[in-house]
Symmetry: C2
Subunit: 212 residues, 2 copies
């Protein structure tokens, strides 16, 4: 399906808002961010934002969903990669970790959404919306969980409890979201080197055989 | 040194405030928490809190420092444990991970403080205070960093970049802070089992030899 020019423009405008909103939410947190802040940074009227997002909660949900859409799209080509599950995991983990650096802003908004959900720090209506987003995100985690379980069945990974190990693995892969700061002149190769170190840590953690 | 009854009471009162304040900060975040909230939950007057902490920023700093004091005290007996550094790391990592569950509230406040520091979401004066607290926390991280570096020199751990690996390791050990919820009737043994799984993941991640 080809989008008309009008739809293209509309779509760009919407994603501009989402990127700028993600920056505001990341820097100040959900509570301290207002639609005014987002409009100011965007150099637009509040009306332009309200056209797409009737409330701050909707805008936050939009950023969360956008972040998940993008990371789902990034791993999609490898979800059903044939061959050993341990090899598939390596591809998925690498892509995930690179996203934590290159799309750190979106990743942190998703993170804050999960924290808000755990804290229950939302109204009942926001809670329903957030429940749906959390289910969407759990579907993403399940891709990794199933791949790891399969790799263990295939004898490539060795660990005891699946649930605890998946949590530890995700936190290791997510870690750059909390400390990575792009340096001037940094190349994709630099980013890939960092990601490879983290994936190697998690790969060993899962009981995978050391690369030779 | 024996404390007088009066000092005991004063000290208890201060730590009661810190525990309750930690709960409030954890549940609602720094911005959304007021001294009023803390006083209400404590069943005390605001005056009692102001007696110890002149402002919300001071109260937050107090909780941060209290959390760090406690975790420093917990690892202190093992900091200079003789023998291989890899064995020392295992002790330190186990204690750290158990604290992430048993003192989850304090751990999350420290975490929020670090995030606030990274975001720069503070006034210049708060920033000076927070800088000091972050240095205090970095001193704690350094215990692990030095132990891991030594274990690598001793040939027990195998990994490439020290800085990246320390980050991935800490996030794995910290992970229960984000997902652990105590279950009714849970024993210390249950908590130790969870901690052991996480320490095993990180131990393998550091390139440590599998237990036999």
């Amino acid at each position: 399906m080809t989008l008309s020019v009008r739809e293209h423009v509309a779509d760009d405008s919407r994603s501009d808002i989402l990127f700028v909103a993600a920056e505001c939410f990341m820097e100040r947190g959900y509570n301290a961010t207002s639609i005014d802040d987002v409009a100011r940074r965007l150099g637009a009227t509040k009306g332009r934002i309200y056209h797409y997002f009737p409330s701050k909660a909707d805008l936050f949900a939009g950023v969360f969903r956008f972040g998940m859409d993008r990371i789902f799209a990034a791993v999609e080509p490898y979800r059903n990669m044939p061959g050993p599950a341990a090899e598939r995991w390596k591809k998925l983990a690498f892509i995930h970790t690179v996203r934590m650096m290159k799309s750190k802003t979106l990743a942190k908004v998703v993170w804050e959404g999960v924290e808000m959900h755990l804290r229950g720090a939302t109204t009942p209506q926001q809670r329903i919306e957030l429940d749906g987003l959390i289910r969407y995100r759990n579907g993403y985690s399940d891709i990794f969980r199933e791949t790891i379980a399969q790799a263990r069945e295939e004898g490539d990974f060795h660990f005891a409890d699946l649930g605890i190990t998946v949590q530890a693995m995700f936190m290791a892969l997510n870690s750059p979201m909390f400390w990575y700061v792009p340096r001037p002149g940094e190349t994709d190769e630099d980013i890939h080197n960092i990601a490879n170190q983290i994936v190697a840590f998690a790969h060993r953690g899962l009981g995978g055989k050391e690369e030779t």
